[in-house]
Assembly symmetry: C2
Homo-oligomer: 469 residues x 2
């Protein structure tokens, strides 16, 4: 494809996206078709001599778009949001066009330096502890997801716990990881990947009133393991759990970790974005105890997946844990020690120029634009919670400090599952569920910049109306 | 940003990329600026109220582009290529605009089904063994990189070796991984991540004539480990090693793995693309023994990073190794067992709609277009090798079955390092180096669709001319 062919086809694709966003609210949020519907309509392979882009775009409309779950839809309230924005898409488009490999500083100096700068910008914007800035021993990096951030934090913690033996000799299965019973599934997955097995993870009980980890239960679990000869290696605390956005008490947890010399990783995948607003920074109190911290701009900060922002207080430990230097990657810049080679901060070797989308987003919205977005989500969630509170057929299942509301119909689990299925079947909204204290609970998560009060009210009207029937 | 603002800015970014590609050959391939040059020119943070896209594009020109290593430059011959193409950029742009999360079938049915179909298309196109098709127990998935493919293959192998105990009880440090001394650094990294430690990897010697793994040495290493009470768990064979594109003898290695019940993973990160050409499929002989296989369309098949195509013969083992199912991800489609949830095939939970870029590339180029691209690279490498062969100051350091040529100036390592530095300093070309049999060796890797005979000849003229001086 020549640059001129790309220019013409590029305009067409930009138009396609602009039109998609314009008409998104009129589409069903999810597809009602059964598994295999798309597969059945695809040919068995590519043609011998190629096809024009127009043909592909026509199939995108005819075959693909109708079989999607539309995550950018203003009526999408499922899981946690994964919203993008115009500037994010444009930043990523530049990244695709440049096609730069950022594995080493030498393979893309600006790719590395812009990433370091964007993570410092974010740290300032969120008032993160000084220890995470690149000006000291710490620094930030973009991971694909919070799952990967938790994995590399776990590996760095094992390296530390192993006193230098882990790199060569492997993991000691007596090492233990701790999180609350509402810690994300990626914590168990990271422990399994790292060779600890699921048995290596202690799921510490939560306070029923807050759904947050109980520090005294954490201390008891650590003491019991130590008494049994096991070695506490990492605690993963959460700011904004996936089920209910509970906030674990970092100051108490942090003091325990400091006392026992345990790596503290803080997973704020969703709720971290809230810290751009000064009035929501209470959620990050105690973060100065953390050895590592991450949040996902790709969840609630208008940046397209994949963009997890991950910081460590001591990048040296992380690099030692992960680096392998073959001859074909040696270069004078690396050997000078004056540069960052981000390949040593992550699992894969290769990496895209993901800092560009953050740069575009931060510059387009500015500080106040980002705050306005977060505040809108919090306000819409509060508006929805008020409706729930005012209807005595419903109850709130947990506090809603951010933009997620957990609620249920007074009644059994089956009634709530039925309500969810019926409301989602309208195609107007999409909600998901969790369990709180063992009970089936509906979740409404606001995050799209296109979601307005009217969309939240429609969701409530559908829920209330369906409950009435 | 409204859809109409996006449309206008989108055209501008498309123009920026088309212009970048048009002028790329006139830019220096690499930047000569020292570390910190970009960082010193960036402001300390975003503005309060946002800026227009034009301002960001101006800084892209002024600050970022001059500090890049231009991987899409026709004179870029370093590492392995990581080329993109117009249709790939457009497919990824659609993916960014849709902003779909493909972690579960339910969260993006078409995202999952198109990915399965594209991996089956590729398997057909490359004539991969039947066991990797989704129609049986096997199937393919897109990973971010071959590093991640090697990691998940290692985890599945440990799960198998552990007879079901690995998931809960963790890794047994007696498990062993095997590769040649030229296996990629990601193999050691995967072993370290998985808790085996670097000591868990046996680097098996190569045949000096071919730089390929010696099967009898592999057998001896396995026997020695078994005699010592260790447990051989995985062999990683390579089609196209990073240093010299050596091809390990899969038929012999495969029979050894079958005999001892060891997982065989085949890493064809770069050279796998060659299999789209029937005349290059000799390199994949013996692949029917493999439990898993991967190659990177983002290296040599015109698809932008990140796109590693990874297949397993038994997806059930991989899924068992990696799945964790929390309540908030439960859904009726998953429970029906009729769908693929690709989150269980990879480390991260979230995933982008990466199949779109493959779909755009396969349809735009067609079968013959892709073959022509591979054949062009092989022919250009052969042309360059002929120049080396014809100049008695130089020697070829290894066979060149694909599009990489390894060569050196007759002389010591320092002379070759000096030659590389001087040629790269011209900014016209960029080559990298490796060591073959301990000796410093230059590598010229062809891959860009923009690279022509004239660019390869220019590279040779620079090398020969510099050597003369």
């Amino acid at each position: 494809m020549t640059p001129e062919e790309f220019r013409r086809a590029g305009y067409a694709v930009v138009d396609w996206i602009a039109d998609y966003w314009t008409t998104l609210g009129q589409r069903p949020v999810t597809s009602a078709e059964p598994p295999g519907a798309l597969a059945a309509e695809l040919p068995d392979g590519p043609t011998a001599h190629g096809e024009p882009v127009d043909a592909v775009l026509a199939d995108l409309d005819r075959l693909v778009a109708p079989r999607l779950t539309h995550w950018q839809h203003p009526g999408f309230f499922g899981y946690f949001p994964a919203n993008t924005s115009g500037p994010s898409v444009l930043g990523d488009l530049v990244s695709s066009g440049l096609g730069v490999q950022g594995m080493l500083w030498a393979t893309g100096p600006a790719c590395t330096e812009l990433e370091t700068a964007m993570l410092d910008w974010l740290a300032d914007l969120m008032d993160l502890p000084e220890r995470f800035r690149s000006t000291g021993a710490g620094g930030g990096v973009i991971q694909d997801s919070a799952s990967s951030a938790t994995l590399v934090a776990t590996l760095a913690a094992l390296h530390r716990a192993g006193d230098g033996r882990w790199r060569a000799a492997g993991v000691d299965r007596r090492y233990r990881a701790y999180t609350s019973t509402h810690g994300h599934s990626s914590i168990e997955k990271a422990a399994r990947i790292a060779g600890l097995g699921g048995d290596g993870v202690r799921q510490v009980e939560v306070d029923p009133a807050t759904q947050a980890l109980r520090p005294e239960a954490l201390r008891a679990a650590i003491e019991a393991d130590r008494a049994a000869g096991d070695v506490p290696a990492i605690v993963v605390a959460t700011i904004g759990t996936t089920s209910t956005t509970a906030v674990d008490p970092l100051p108490e947890i942090g003091r325990i970790c400091a006392e026992y010399g345990i790596w503290l990783h803080v997973d704020a995948a969703y709720a971290g974005s809230a810290a751009v607003c000064p009035e929501l920074r209470w959620s990050h109190a105690g973060l100065e105890y953390a050895d590592s911290y991450c949040f996902d701009p790709h969840k609630w900060l208008l940046t397209g997946f994949d963009c997890d922002a991950f910081w460590v207080a001591d990048s040296g430990e992380l690099i030692e844990a992960l680096t392998v230097l073959p001859e074909y990657l040696r270069n004078t810049a690396t050997e000078s020690g004056a540069v960052i080679d981000y390949r040593d901060w992550q699992v894969p070797l290769g990496r895209r120029f993901r800092a560009l989308k953050l740069w575009f987003v931060l510059r387009w919205y500015g500080v106040e634009g980002l705050r306005a977005h977060i505040r809108s989500g919090v306000a819409l969630a509060a508006r929805f919670a008020d409706r729930v509170r005012a209807d005595d057929r419903f109850e709130l299942a947990a506090p809603h400090p951010f933009s997620l509301v957990c609620f249920r119909l007074l009644g059994d689990d089956a009634a709530n599952a039925e309500l969810l299925a019926r409301v989602n079947a309208t195609g107007r909204v999409h909600l998901t569920h969790t369990r709180v204290d063992g009970r089936y609970t509906l979740r409404l998560a606001v995050g799209s910049p296109h979601t307005t009060a009217a969309h939240v009210d429609e969701a409530w009207d559908l829920l209330a109306g369906t409950a009435a029937r």
